[in-house]
Subunit: 342 residues, 2 copies
């Protein structure tokens, strides 16, 4: 068994049949009798046979692999638990099946496009997952041009593209109502980069809900998910004329960073300032005070996306799947706003 990989013709020889018969038997298709099939199967696993993916791909045109490329600078990617959780979910749905995951991490969108194009050209993947969609995303055009099956992890913005999304608007509203119930009126949302569709969705929901709740002073400012940018922005917001009493962040790192800034400015959390993080994580749980956060079903998203992608690859129509809803996990970083200073 050392170093030598058996092929179907080894099996054929051992079983005294043709390779065609072996192929039919191993793929459970008609054309071989039950006893023969069983005999072939036995020999196959006695020999430890595993189909060569290259040979199979070449003849049936399927790669039995899906691709994911993540385009975030190395600096920020290690920090966010998001991707690892996503990958966990993806693997969960892939486990047991014949499909593998091809991963690429890049730091610019041209490289990302090139990666998809190359995988397609090399016939290395049967389909791809698309994350972090931006307005008029060139990847959408690319996959459509290439007829490369793709599933978007995000809101349904492109009509005929399958996607798996989470109802963020709901969570935005929940968070706002929660803060308002606590008595907050001046609330600022510290968002990620404007270019992302999900940023826009949340900001829109935020603005709409704020208007409905009569929060004239609610507003949105932008950072880039990094702790540095978040610190800068937070510092500016908190030292402005009438500073907000609550801040809602688009990820965990920025919220934790703001915790540091608050400390530095002598503001105690939550007594003088309330903080809400977006993706919940160990980070949120571990810092003091622990951060109230919106928990999204990230792994579930990944798993659902994989299942959908596999279906689409098999010719299923482009569905738009919604995951379970995010939920607000209140911890110690949110409380009543301080009484107005006289």
């Amino acid at each position: 068994m050392v170093g030598k990989r058996p092929t179907i013709s080894d099996i054929a020889k051992a079983a005294g049949v043709s390779t065609g018969a072996v192929s039919y038997a191993l793929n459970n298709r008609p054309g071989v009798s039950e006893p023969t099939r069983r005999r072939i199967m036995d020999i196959a696993d006695r020999l430890g046979w595993v189909p060569s993916s290259a040979a199979r791909s070449l003849s049936d045109g399927r790669a039995n692999a899906i691709g994911l490329v993540v385009d975030r600078p190395a600096r920020v990617i290690g920090v966010e638990p998001y991707f690892m959780q996503l990958i966990s979910g993806i693997q969960g749905a892939l486990a047991g099946g014949p499909t593998s995951l091809l991963l690429q991490v890049t730091d610019n969108s041209a490289a990302e496009l090139a990666a998809y194009r190359r995988w397609w050209g090399e016939r290395r993947v049967d389909g791809v997952l698309l994350v972090d969609l931006v307005q008029n995303d060139p990847r959408v055009e690319l996959v459509q041009e290439l007829r490369l099956p793709a599933v978007v992890l995000g809101e349904p913005v492109v009509p005929d593209l399958p996607c798996v999304w989470t109802d963020d608007e709901l969570a935005v509203v929940e968070v706002l109502e929660y803060l308002v119930a606590l008595g907050h009126r001046r609330i600022v949302r510290v968002a990620g980069p404007t270019k992302f569709v999900h940023t826009q969705t949340r900001s829109r929901a935020f603005t709409t809900a704020a208007a409905r709740l009569g929060l004239a002073e609610a507003r949105v400012v932008h950072a880039d998910y990094s702790d540095e940018a978040a610190a800068r922005v937070t510092r500016r917001v908190l030292t402005s004329g009438t500073p907000p009493t609550a801040l809602v962040f688009d990820n965990d790192v920025m919220a934790v960073s703001a915790l540091g800034v608050a400390h530095e400015l002598g503001l105690t959390v939550p007594d003088q300032l309330s903080l809400v993080a977006w993706d919940d994580s160990a980070l949120c749980r571990l810092v003091r005070p622990a951060l109230s956060a919106v928990r999204r079903p990230i792994a579930e998203r990944g798993a659902a996306a994989v299942r959908l992608l596999l279906d689409v690859i098999n010719g299923a129509p482009a569905e738009q799947v919604k995951t379970s809803d995010p939920e607000l996990v209140p911890r110690s970083s949110t409380s009543h706003p301080p009484p107005p200073t006289p």
Copy 2:
């Protein structure tokens, strides 16, 4: 260009030569004249030709892919920036080349072995990366039995297996000497699971250095990298008879968790308790007080491992590569121990 992928025979037809000639030309081997080669090349990229990885694999036996399987429970994997940084480094070394990364995340070691075996059987990878080696690791035996090129990310424990390692012992000594210089005598190391080789290496270095420095009360306790276990262990250690004045952790999550426990026990950091984290991360930078930490060149490790693996695949001998040394980054979680209570 839509949906149809050109093959070398399309190129051959367009150039009026045989497919053999095209193959020679595109692979830069002798057998075609310069003008012809140029003409073929031109046509190839006008057509947007990309070699089919399946066909190439089938005929030359190379998969142009390497595999990495990470065996950590989903619960903990999202938390540690380690893997994402590692993957960033890996990608960096892979970028531009023809090789892709196949990733698998599992939560038990049987599945990990199965994954390697399957990849080998399917001829999907040319080699693999091995992380988190344990004593008598079955993966070592497996890759040797299969003659599957492999590079270990960790200390050279198996003589003839190539590896990329970082001198952790050095860092352990540096940390201990630093703490002793600050005046600490009672120091406890909160380590990861005993089974990992790197845990053992560091613990051994810790014990040896402690003895050399005459620290009779230095000792090692174990947790499992999770914040819960770390909190439990830390609580126990800090409430024991003569509690330590300094704690050294095997990752960032555990150190942050301990920060919470210290807070809960009314111990201020660093005045009454000093804390050192092992892998540096945003987490360490962002919490208050910011954690002193040992920074290791993780991405560099990944990149070096890839380069070594690619060499080994090409028949190079099994080297043992050392990365640059880790360094202690002192922050606000370490200081002099409190004066002895009378």
